[in-house]
Symmetry: C2
Subunit: 415 residues, 2 copies
């Protein structure tokens, strides 16, 4: 059983926004046994949308359409669906009541004709209630294919997928299980890994597929299988994963692609009832931001000193001027001192610190762009490591954040 996604909106095709909706929809469909065959982004234009609907109808049983359901004039999706289904629009009293309620509750201005028009829906559509906005989701069927139209605003779309679309798909279609397992590695390139595991890879059962996903110093290996017996799939995939450890065990740092390294660290720290602080220079708060993006971070994360300027390192973090003068602000000694100081200041068990130069121009130190130091301080001591991260600002920061989490995780596991 197969689905397609059609995202509507010129803003995608001129590169003004990144289409994150498709990734969310693909993931949740996959989790529920529905493979996504294709994602198509089309213009806000009736002929183009109609063509995409017809093409998708030929190939797939479920077509999910997002975008083009706003209250303003650039909205064409609803009218195009009417053309496609030979249908007309009529006012839905439930949708209208919901819009009126939202206006009364959240919006001070009086309800406008334009908003009332959002209650106009195709007569053949089953309405999916949008708890967070005025544009309802719509479920329509044609020649055995289901078409689901959702608003493009991500959090409205997400709630509709989770609470309405997925339950209805589960009810309507028999679906296989789709199992993915992702093995996360670092320290070895894609082709070097491929050579080490070649014999294993060639011996994989026909229905278990392997993919290499390289990114910023890491390679993720994804195993996928599809079938009726979930336990059997799980068992067979786990069996293959076990065989990987003797081959590349030393570069594996985790399983399950869904769980980020910061989520694994969170679990470890909560389990051990231990706490963390960070002192960030060139990573500029990104480590703290990734940690606090997880709900419950307050259980183990006390804070971060983003000491971007050298002056801030001295005045707030208390790094001795002499140390900076002797070693330079981008140095092993300063990374260690930053980790140690922030651990004491914020009174935590663990601390990580970063100092380096992300470019494009040289900063307060003469160190070349891309040279960074990551310091770690634990209840039993501290150290720092140097890394050379290339010359691309964004990548230097992201690779360093990843590396900091890796170093930290290894240390926490020792306690």
């Amino acid at each position: 059983m197969q689905a397609e996604i059609i995202t509507i909106g010129d803003e995608i095709l001129i590169g003004q926004i990144v289409d994150t909706n498709s990734a969310f929809i693909s993931k949740i469909l996959n989790k529920n046994g529905v493979s996504v065959y294709q994602i198509t982004s089309v213009q806000d234009e009736a002929t183009h949308i109609l063509q995409a609907l017809e093409d998708a109808n030929r190939r797939s049983q479920v077509v999910i359409i997002t975008g083009g359901l706003g209250p303003t004039k650039d909205d064409v999706t609803k009218h195009t669906l009417c053309t496609y289904f030979g249908d007309t629009l009529q006012q839905d009293p439930m949708v209208l009541a919901h819009i009126e309620m939202l206006f009364k509750k959240y919006i001070s201005t009086p309800i406008s004709d334009m908003n009332r028009q959002q209650a106009l829906v195709p007569t053949k559509a089953t309405i999916l209630k949008n708890d967070f906005g005025t544009a309802p989701g719509m479920w329509m069927e044609k020649a055995g294919t289901v078409f689901i139209s959702l608003p493009g605003v991500p959090f409205e779309m997400k709630a509709l997928m989770q609470h309405h679309v997925i339950p209805k798909i589960i009810e309507k279609f028999e679906r296989p299980y789709i199992i993915h397992k992702t093995i996360m590695t670092y320290g070895l390139g894609e082709s070097a890994i491929a050579e080490r595991i070649e014999v294993w890879e060639n011996a994989l059962p026909q229905d278990i597929k392997l993919a290499y996903l390289p990114s910023l110093g890491r390679v993720r290996l994804r195993l996928s299988a599809k079938g009726r017996d979930k336990n059997d799939l799980q068992r067979r995939i786990n069996n293959e994963v076990k065989k990987l450890y003797p081959l590349i065990g030393e570069i594996i740092y985790g399983e399950e692609g869904d769980e980020s390294i910061e989520a694994q660290i969170a679990k470890l720290l909560i389990d051990k009832k231990q706490t963390l602080a960070t002192a960030e220079s060139f990573t500029g708060g990104k480590i703290a931001q990734q940690i606090t993006a997880l709900p419950g971070a307050s259980k183990y994360f006390k804070g971060s000193m983003v000491a971007y300027a050298t002056e801030t390192k001295i005045k707030v973090l208390g790094i001795p001027v002499a140390l900076i003068e002797k070693h330079s602000v981008v140095s092993e000694a300063v990374a260690i001192a930053m980790a140690e100081r922030v651990r004491i200041l914020l009174d935590t068990d663990f601390a990580i610190a970063t100092t380096g130069n992300a470019g494009p121009s040289k900063g307060d130190a003469d160190t070349p762009v891309g040279t960074v130091y990551i310091g770690v301080c634990t209840p039993s001591g501290s150290f720092a490591q140097q890394f050379v991260m290339g010359n691309h600002r964004e990548r230097i920061v992201q690779k360093s954040v990843n590396k900091a989490f890796e170093l930290l995780q290894k240390e926490i596991l020792k306690f």
Copy 2:
């Protein structure tokens, strides 16, 4: 003249990664007068890729393909291109020399057969040199349509687009100018704005298009036009924008969608030679991270105290315990104190501070989830404002970060 993008990779269709490549490619093509008609994401599978190539060929003169050029076995793009062009692979000595050089320079392990195979390219392809990786870009032509295949690793793809693909497209095709102008507004919903500007919108010239882009408390209005005379387009769009100010001037906070509010703040602070610090509670470093994502941030940004725990607010930021006990940690008084304290500690001209509850559960204060305070401290005083940001963790944080930048920008403009 029209282009299409085909992104290849199961990882996109299972939602494991978000396709950011397409947004980058669309944007740079648009800037150079090439409209993108459609973006299609397909599986790592020859029949599917072939179908997408044929469909795109019917519609567009330029087809850009990314993904599926890695060294490992899940790579199918190159072989499919050979099938499509009736071509065979042959070793390219220049590509091989480049791969050997990269291995010698950056990788300690010896070069493998798998990497050598990356030098195999279709005989009809013009090679586009990939300075940052082993998989070359390829430029092929068929029946008047150009097919360009690029590796999927974003920074390799970006460099190839900028330095090779765009110059070749400019050389080969006559292109019109495409002009976009985006007006950023906040404080009014999509439909309320639409009503206020209805007469203006209906009077827009046929070839100037308007789109509404709502997101997290803001609505962006995008005007687009396409034509041969750049100055004329620019003049006519600016003329329409001018007419908007009497209608909705008070909710416009900037023009040019490409320039983020933090980039505008950066320019202001650099111009005025003034500095900034932040004290962040529930935003967890995201304000600092967005500021430091811009090159040159060290010119005006001294750092941030990410005081996530109440204890950290007291111990490091020096917020009086009595103040917290009297007003609660999520309060106007604490937001003001945080902004004032961090401004003094880091010795800056401006400071912003956040305290609030992003949920999902209640934190150190009894304040409901979604209630936040943003404090601003300037050379002439300080204040804080309360906002109620809904109940979705990620949105609460992002909306608050946006709001903090808006408040700050208004204050900086007073000096």
